[in-house]
Symmetry: C2
Subunit: 447 residues, 2 copies
């Protein structure tokens, strides 16, 4: 055999030099990460086979960072300088500008990188993966999708002998919490959002969560890693949960379904797709039991069949667990004198056209009821070639729904499988009818 083997002598000779870890960012996740690195230092050293040492924490203002487990002498504002004196750099700054600069700087100076920055990877992932591969260093980012859930590593390493065909992810805890509260308490979106903001479960500006952009970043990363092809945030179609009403939820419950905001990535003959949209799932689907702020990703692979990964999608300690897991992996590679697998983007897969994916849809129109309404709407569906599977017109909007008057009824139509382009054209045509009012809601129905 002509390949190198790591020998016992190498191990013994190298095992006393500490592996130097630099932390960029001292917020919630940063401080929790620092605590694990400092408090578990001895056990981590045993698991790595070599000591590990936190050599610096970069922050904007050292005076504002006060954690008993972070030695004040470690704090610095010289982020670029810190990047050059570490074997492993943990980027927890966030955003896509300075984070990109420092990550590339760390790679350039030969450090391996751990990051939890989904926005950075969804935008510049392929550039960063290539830079790491060219330099022969590691880049791990388990916390970027699904927080504490060990999901990206299994996808990258365990499922590597299989062919992933699709993934459905509940990857945003805020929206899952809101939909869960709407379901269990029968409340409207706006009321639950306000309550979630008051409790700190939703941010003051919740746009990134409720409009689906956070989930879209994660979808881009999932598709890139799952399908070994280049998918960025610009390739993801996004729809949030702001149009979901208490009535939509009630209708779903009546049909033994739940509404979840999903990041959906698929690979088919037609190409790959990455989308975020709210969908109806059967209440027996494993994802239906993912409640509150928990996250989960449901994976279909050709040989492995169905898999699901479940856990906390956010929070300082859970996210720090994933970050430190990555640090230990990279430290072990450094101790062994090798790197982990690159992220091979050898597939240059086309994107599936928008009309390639077929699904059943549930559409809810608000109508001024009068004779002939159903016939007119059904005719519009027929004209567009969309087959109707079920209709429910006997629904009064609940009193709490905003913008309704007593004259308005709901008409709920569930279609047979059709493509999204045709469905949306059909809905637009129906909206032109004079007795149709307000905003329709469109939900995909998944098996």
């Amino acid at each position: 055999m002509d390949y190198r083997r790591f020998t016992e002598e190498d191990r013994v000779a190298e095992n006393t030099t500490p592996i130097r870890v630099a932390l960029l960012g001292a917020g919630t996740v940063g401080s929790a990460t620092a605590r694990l690195l400092v408090e578990q230092k001895e056990e981590l050293g045993k698991r790595i086979g070599r000591p590990i040492e936190l050599v610096g924490v970069a922050c904007l203002d050292p005076d504002e960072v006060n954690y008993p487990w972070i030695d004040k002498s470690l704090l610095t504002t010289d982020t670029a300088g810190l990047c050059t004196r570490a074997d492993i750099v943990i980027e927890l700054i966030g955003g896509t500008t300075v984070a990109r600069t420092f990550v590339l700087k760390a790679i350039e100076s030969g450090a391996s990188v751990v990051t939890a920055n989904k926005a950075l990877l969804a935008k510049y992932g392929p550039e960063i993966y290539q830079a790491a591969a060219d330099k022969g260093v590691d880049i791990y980012f388990e916390a970027a999708v699904g927080g504490a859930i060990p999901f990206l590593r299994p996808l990258r390493e365990s499922l590597v002998g299989d062919k992933v065909t699709s993934m459905l992810g509940i990857v945003n805890g805020t929206t899952n919490y809101i939909l869960d509260e709407m379901t269990t308490k029968g409340l409207q979106f706006d009321d639950v959002l306000k309550d979630a903001q008051a409790k700190g479960y939703a941010e003051a500006d919740p746009t990134g969560d409720i409009e689906g952009y956070d989930a879209a970043n994660k979808a881009a990363i999932m598709a890139t890693l799952g399908f070994h092809t280049n998918v960025t945030i610009d390739d993801v179609s996004v729809e949030g949960i702001t149009k979901i009403t208490a009535d939509d939820i009630a209708a779903a419950t009546a049909e033994h379904k739940v509404i979840k905001l999903l990041a959906v990535v698929e690979r088919s003959e037609a190409g790959v797709s990455a989308r975020v949209y709210p969908a109806l799932l059967s209440d027996t689907h494993p994802l239906a039991s993912v409640h509150g702020s928990f996250n989960a990703v449901f994976v279909k692979a050709e040989a492995a069949d169905d898999l699901m990964f479940y856990g906390r999608g956010a929070g300082g300690d859970p996210t720090a667990s994933a970050v430190v897991g990555d640090v230990v992996t990279e430290a072990r590679h450094i101790a062994a004198g090798c790197t982990g697998p690159e992220i091979p983007l050898y597939n240059d897969l086309p994107f599936a056209p928008a009309d390639a994916s077929r699904a059943a849809f549930a559409v809810r129109f608000l109508i001024h009821d009068k004779p002939g309404v159903l016939a007119a709407i059904a005719a519009e569906f027929a004209r567009n070639g969309v087959s109707i599977n079920g209709v429910n017109q006997d629904l009064k909007p609940t009193a709490v729904d905003p913008g309704y008057d007593g004259e308005i009824q709901q008409l709920r139509i569930v279609t047979h499988p059709t493509d999204e382009v045709t469905l949306r054209n059909t809905v637009k045509a129906v909206q032109q009818l004079d007795f149709v009012t307000g905003e329709p809601s469109i939900l995909r129905v998944l098996d």
Copy 2:
């Protein structure tokens, strides 16, 4: 930095020599593994960065192996010889005798090993892990627990920066299927077992499954990897599901609970424990929605908090997916000239005494009802210091339950948390009372 870096030149120089893979065993999983290796050869080569080649399939009788994707010239009965001419040896023979011989032989000759053999690892794991570490080769065995579920690798690599405190696993598909059928159809254990055998979901000799021994092997592996300490099958306490009746299930359902056979491993101040027992779980617990032959492991870690891994626990293709994932990982290490992390058993943790773990229990007695029965039984519980949380005496055994006559009633007692030793002593004492008959059932109640 004084550690070696793998350079681009190494990569280019080495990437054309095929990595040789030997397969021991050509049964269901073996043939499915061979198919993935042969049919996905090109894609696997891309993921590894070097070609991979199946160089031999060891079997007992080459005439009996007929799969279109296995070239007849690859078949051999010279298992030992095959082990010495491969870079990676996949052991799918099963059992703990010849499998051990060949695995150690493969390691001795410098090959990395992939195995799905839970019995082998539960008995000889530490010996085999040490042999692999001494020789500087890899040993991976994702398929040994939870079949296709990427669980052991995340435990070994992703959660390495965290501290796992407990794991609850549904790790035996046969028993989960049986309990599920009993729950949804209200049938008795024996009837479901016969039906499962007829359908091929249970083996002709189901003892290993229904008495919990299969799950016990997996518990030993889970505890060893999760707690970095040496736990073998002999250290696992085992209780199967043969005493569970349709009435136990009905009582559970009435209380919004489900009965699941669990592999439970825990680490506390008192030490580690590894047990297999049927338990009552709330029907909102994530494990409660694991149906049929699916498997799942629920993990609690200090920082990551709750995690769950879900998927197919058996079957040719799903298991082969896990096996080939391990092969690719080892092949990547070989291509990169290093090995994965060893399995460090640096903790020499004591075993927790049997009375260290406290839980609530649900006990069902069969009694000949007469005045004073409840008082006598309650007195026995009080004498042993076991506090009663709830009693239900108003239960007639269902007509289908075996061994009951019309005079017999059930008495169901749910206790406050107590230790198992005390509980079992109490149950034994109650069994001495002259109006108690038959076999009591004892179920732990988990949160």
